[in-house]
Each structure stands twice: as structure tokens, then as C-alpha cells.
Symmetry: C2
Subunit: 95 residues, 2 copies
């Protein structure tokens, strides 16, 4: 059965999920980061997620894991960022 | 009745709550930011919250609302950061 998934902040949840494999290594399979130095993404506001990814891509964040995030985000298009943000915002924020 | 609250990442939840008034203006009364350009903080990993506040304080984040966060975090001690991080991590991550 095909289901039309909701879009958030111009993003497509299903497309975001398909693009999220690299993210899951640190942020968890469902956006529930186990290592507490990484943020949980599940249920986070989509607009904030998109702003953060754009900030990493533009090199506006440094220190800590920012270099890793800049490397990952450098290859993301605006649509990729919208899709990933919609996907993580759509997940249940379980602890 | 006095209750001993748990400490997370060296922080004290009750002390963090008492220091959180300024944060609530944008991040919500219980860490549930209503305006989606701001991140929800409720239930976020305490270590990540602390790392983020230290990064803002050190000027390692720019663009967007980073200037506002740098201003707020500039007056926070290491203990303040630990307490605030413990407090927000302790809150239920309701959507």
C-alpha cells in the first residue's frame, strides 16, 4: 500500500528517511542518539533542524563535532536538508 | 517535603530550573519551543546541551540566532551551564 506522507517545512518525510543513513551513525536509528554528546533529533522542530544544517554547511559552527557536521552537510542540497528535517521532526521523541 | 533531585552531567536539576527564566522566553516554559525556528530542549541529551552552551559562549557559532545565544551564555558559569543542561534533559520530551 502506498501512503502519502506529510511534508514539513517543504520537506518530504519519506525522502528524508531514505537520505538519513549517514545521520543514524551518530544520531541513532530513529533520531535517538545514545551517546549523549550528540543531540537527539526525533521530534525536534523542522525549521530549527534545517537552520542548523544550513549553518553547518556554511561553516557557521566550529569546535566539538562541528567539523564532522560541516563535512556531512557540504554535500546536501537545500531539498536534502528540507527532507531530512521533515523526517526527524516527524519521529516520536521517545527518551 | 524536600526531595533530592538527580544531577545530570554534574548539574543540579532544581538549580537549573531556577536559572531558566531567560531561556523560557524562546525555548518555552518546559523546553517546548513553540516557534519552530528555536530548538526544543526538553529531553535533549544533557552533555549535548552543555557542549552547545559552551560553544555559544566561546563564539563558535554564528549566524541565525547565535548572536542572541552568545549574549545569553556569556554570563553563564560552568556550573550554570551544567545546571541548565541537567534541568532541560530531565524534562519530558512532549511534542
Amino acid at each position: 500500500m502506498l501512503v502519502s506522507l506529510p511534508a514539513l517545512a517543504g520537506g518530504n518525510v519519506a525522502d528524508g528517511q531514505s537520505k538519513s543513513a549517514s545521520c543514524a551513525a551518530c544520531h541513532g536509528a530513529k533520531g535517538q542518539a545514545v551517546n549523549s554528546i550528540y543531540p537527539k533529533l526525533a521530534g525536534q522542530n523542522a525549521d530549527y533542524l534545517a537552520l542548523s544544517l544550513h549553518a553547518y554547511k556554511k561553516g557557521e559552527r566550529s569546535g566539538g563535532q562541528a567539523g564532522v557536521m560541516q563535512a556531512f552537510s557540504s554535500s546536501l542540497s537545500d531539498q536534502d536538508i528540507s527532507d531530512l528535517s521533515a523526517y526527524y521532526a516527524s519521529l516520536a521523541p521517545l527518551k
